[in-house]
């Protein structure tokens, strides 16, 4: 059926950085889509059918075929819609460097930030130190890769989308954690890049209100800390029960 043929549906949740990146990409490319809000505590049969391996969002459905994993979806969007601006650079070497840094942001920095958010005390202090070190690495990397400047204020690419989705909510993180996340003096390139991205009308359109994001992050932090406390309590209880200790 012709309507089904070009239909684009995004299955996601409202406050997830992963869903946001796909929305951002679809809007940058001007691709109309339907948004289906999934309930992750009660996953729909459709989600389980579209993503049987991971059972996660986001899932993009195009021509009735599902694509999973946010970074893979972004590459797909760039390749399937050939008209309009490309999300990845033309030059294959710079493209490789962009892929490298996206991987670094996703695997190193996102993980580091999650650790900072979900811990406290000494563990958190150590995690914060590591996060700052990674910011230094990223700052230098971006300076070397883009000697003439990063974001021009207009043309949004893959790396801009990832920078925005991971670091965009830094003020939310700063409020919940009570620490500086992006230091303007130590990381001027990242700071000005993220600030410029956050000013884009498209970004403002898809970003929930600050207070809402603060509440979501605070809930996640409380939950993580309680889990850690629970693990600790279980460990103590076991220790007390084991009289040979």
């Amino acid at each position: 059926m012709e309507e089904e043929h070009n239909k684009v549906t995004l299955h996601g949740v409202l406050n997830s950085t992963f869903t946001k990146r796909v929305e951002f990409a679809l809007k940058v490319k001007g691709i109309p889509y339907e948004f289906v809000v999934e309930n992750l505590t009660n996953k729909s049969p459709l989600l389980l059918k579209y993503n049987p391996v991971h059972k996660k969002v986001p899932v993009l459905v195009h021509n009735a075929k599902p694509i999973c994993e946010s970074l893979i979806i972004l590459e797909y969007i760039d390749e399937a819609w050939k008209n309009g601006a490309k999300l990845l650079p033309k030059d294959s070497y710079i493209r490789a460097q962009v892929r490298f840094w996206i991987s670094y942001i996703q695997q190193q920095m996102f993980e580091a930030m999650t650790l900072v958010v979900s811990t406290d005390g000494e563990t958190q202090e150590k995690a914060i130190k590591e996060l700052y070190e990674k910011f230094e690495v990223l700052e230098k990397g971006m300076k070397d890769l883009f000697p003439n400047g990063t974001f021009d204020g207009k043309n949004v690419g893959f790396l801009d989308i990832i920078m925005c989705s991971v670091f965009g909510p830094y003020k939310v993180q700063e409020q919940v954690l009570g620490i500086k996340v992006i230091d303007q003096e130590r990381n001027p390139i990242i700071f000005s890049w993220v600030t410029a991205l956050n000013e884009l009308p498209l970004v403002k359109e898809i970003t929930p209100p600050h207070e809402e994001l603060v509440a979501v992050l605070q809930t996640f932090r409380n939950f993580s800390l309680n889990l850690a406390m629970l693990d600790h309590l279980i460990a103590i209880k076991v220790c007390v029960l084991c009289s040979s200790c």
Binding site: I72, E75, Y76, E79, Y93, F100, Y104, G141
Partner: protein, 222 residues
């Protein structure tokens, strides 16, 4: 002649081997530089300052690190003997399985460093689950993950056809067997018979000895 291509690698690493397989499959000439990871070279430190790891590909002196990034670069730069499908959806599907394989590394790592008992039973069970998913949903009824011929997914998962057997031998548990995983077992045989793969594998005995010492070091460090 191409602008010089160099590969900085380490002989027992499946990560550097996949880069070699991709270049050989495409008939791209390259110089190989064996890295001593206990005494990292200036070249490696300069080419991969972020991770200081192999493999690194140098093309005309310009370095690219991270094997998955290197493989995409090779595919784009030398399009002969394509290793990714042309169609966008199929490419996304291939990338999905490459990512899946990469993410499940720790599952196999846990099995590799496990010792007999509950820990090992759980590690084996988790590994088998991953292998089942690869067989049923990744491979399906195809000869290779790439269909009739190998592609980047086969290269990315290629460690299962050679390195995994060393793990199986060291922990004394066989998981990829014709009775439990018939299609994956057949894939291992078929993959190892592809000329480029067959001619570019580290010596099994030497690899086993190397992995044995790594395993022992990891266990004593626990």
């Amino acid at each position: 002649m191409e602008e010089g291509v160099k590969v900085v690698g380490f002989w027992p690493s499946p990560y550097s081997q996949k880069v070699i397989w991709a270049l050989k499959q495409k008939g791209v000439a390259y110089d190989y530089i064996e890295e001593d990871l206990s005494n990292k070279s200036q070249l490696l430190m300069k080419s991969n300052p972020v991770y200081k790891k192999i493999p690194v590909l140098l093309h005309g002196g310009k370095p690219i690190a991270e094997s998955s990034v290197i493989l995409e670069y090779i595919e784009e730069t030398w399009p002969q003997n394509p290793l990714l499908p042309k169609e966008a959806y199929e490419r996304a599907s291939a990338r999905f399985w490459i990512q899946f394989g990469a993410e499940k590394g720790p599952t196999f790592g846990s099995l590799f460093t496990s010792t007999a008992g509950e820990e090992q039973d759980k590690a084996a069970k988790d590994a088998l689950e991953v292998l089942k998913i690869l067989e049923e949903q990744g491979l399906g009824n195809n000869k290779f993950f790439g269909g009739d011929s190998i592609n980047l997914v086969d290269l990315a998962l290629g460690w299962l056809a050679h390195w995994f057997q060393c793990i199986e031998e060291l922990v004394e548990i066989k998981l990829i067997e014709p009775t439990t995983l018939p299609r994956l077992h057949a894939w291992v045989e078929n993959f190892n018979q592809v000329p480029v793969i067959h001619e570019n594998l580290p010596d099994k005995k030497r690899l086993l000895a190397h992995m044995k010492s790594i395993r022992e070091m990891s266990i004593s460090a626990k």
